[in-house]
């Protein structure tokens, strides 16, 4: 029946670069802070950073390969890649990733929606499938934030990290486990300075790399970011629950963008999510921007902590400002070796 057509999550994968940087390791140990201060204020104990020469696309390929394997290596007819740190200003990262994954000449493009990228990527994939334009979509979220982080900036250096996650969507029925039930997205461009790389774009070209390091890196207004992130993620989560007529205590899995454990806790508290339904792994992986939600989802597939079919609420907020929430049922995916 046409009205029941939905996109269904049928594969999840992730990849983390091997280099682990703990709170007490250089260069973080050279900041005016302590490992304990970082842990208490962010919830982060360690994160992964790429070694020089590893790109966002490299991480995306590994995560994409894992997600496709988990989905049974289906025929993909669209690749969407969300990132804040593309391999190049131009071209986009998605086509080269698609080619390396052996996906031939499928449509492939990037989405720039900062830390909300995965919710935007799911929204695009969902719309392509429900419109009949695609039967199977690979949504990739990959970041190498360490490449745009000033190691001397305490606000960002202790938080940002690298990693990639991916989901495979296929066409199916709304009543199937993994089906996307609703999507709510939003933006407020008046807050474009909440998190910004000032130099290197067309507004302030820097072809010779003459700008100060701080201006070539992501700068963030931390307290303002906290306030906007909490307010917007709370609002959009409530809106989504209302739209789906899901009582908050019926949510079996709540996964928010892992900007900071304190933001996650505050949003979950304000929305009223039961403690047993809150899932995160920021302690181990830090803030990986758009990759953070699929990184948690992949962990949950491996541990089997969420029951198949459970109501699942994803929400994110990022620079732009952009935000989103996606409601789905937990997919029927078995961990792959």
């Amino acid at each position: 029946m046409a009205s029941s057509l939905a996109s269904v999550v049928c594969g999840i994968g992730s990849f983390l670069p091997p280099r682990i940087v703990a709170n007490g390791d250089p260069p973080l140990s050279e900041l005016d802070t302590t490992a304990e201060w970082i842990r208490r204020r962010t919830g982060i104990e360690r994160r992964r950073w790429v070694d020089p020469g590893t790109s966002t696309g490299d991480l995306a390929v590994e995560a994409g390969r894992a997600a496709l394997r988990s989905a049974g290596d289906p025929v993909v007819d669209l690749v969407v890649l969300t990132t804040t740190t593309p391999d190049h200003h131009s071209p986009g990262t998605a086509p080269w990733v698609a080619a390396r994954l052996g996906l031939g000449t499928v449509p492939a493009f990037d989405i720039a929606a900062a830390c909300s990228g995965f919710t935007y990527g799911l929204a695009v994939g969902d719309a392509w499938i429900r419109s009949g334009s695609a039967d199977c979509v690979l949504v990739l979220a990959a970041e190498t934030l360490s490449t745009i982080t000033d190691p001397a900036d305490r606000m960002t250096a202790v938080v940002f990290a690298d990693g990639a996650g991916a989901a495979v969507l296929r066409s199916g029925g709304r009543d199937q486990p993994g089906a996307v039930q609703a999507v709510c997205l939003g933006s407020d461009g008046t807050q474009k300075d909440l998190a910004v790389v000032n130099a290197g774009g067309s507004r302030r070209p820097d072809p010779e790399g003459a700008a100060e390091l701080a201006d070539r890196c992501l700068q963030m207004r931390g307290p303002d970011m906290f306030a906007h992130a909490v307010r917007r993620m709370t609002e959009v989560s409530r809106l989504l629950l209302e739209r789906l007529e899901w009582p908050v205590d019926s949510v079996g899995a709540f996964i928010g963008h892992q900007a900071n454990q304190r933001i996650l806790d505050k949003v979950a508290d304000l929305v009223g999510v039961p403690a047993a339904s809150r899932f995160a792994n920021i302690r181990e992986v830090g803030n990986t921007s758009s990759a953070s939600i699929p990184l948690v989802m992949d962990d949950l597939v491996r541990t089997g902590a969420v029951r198949c079919g459970s109501r699942t609420l994803l929400t994110a907020f990022g620079g732009g400002a952009v935000w989103g929430a996606v409601g789905l049922t937990w997919p029927d995916i078995k961990p792959t070796p």
Partner: protein, 97 residues
């Protein structure tokens, strides 16, 4: 209905004790956030929480280390009075036949 300043102050004290483990005995009205060692994120966190609780908008750019608990309570009271005024004005703005 506007609420006397004491109610928000009590609420602030309860919130700070619960959220940050601060002893309630130390949470007197004249204490500043800085003296309680609440960082800028914690101050903003409190403003966001209080805004949601009371259904008002507290401008978190006003939060600062020098601000006292009583001043914060007064901000809440003012905001609540503003909401009351708006309600009354919109109630009296019914188009006349």
């Amino acid at each position: 209905m506007s609420q006397p300043a004491q109610q928000p102050l009590d609420h602030i004290r309860t919130y700070l004790a619960s959220a940050f483990g601060l002893p309630e005995a130390e949470l007197i009205g004249d204490r500043t956030f800085e003296s309680l060692e609440l960082d800028s994120i914690a101050q903003v966190e409190m403003f966001v929480t209080l805004s949601d609780h009371y259904g008002i908008h507290l401008d978190d750019s006003l939060a600062s280390g020098e601000m006292t608990l009583r001043q914060t309570a007064e901000l809440i009271t003012e905001a609540l009075e503003g909401v009351d005024r708006q309600r009354q004005e919109s109630g009296s703005a019914v188009p006349q036949g």
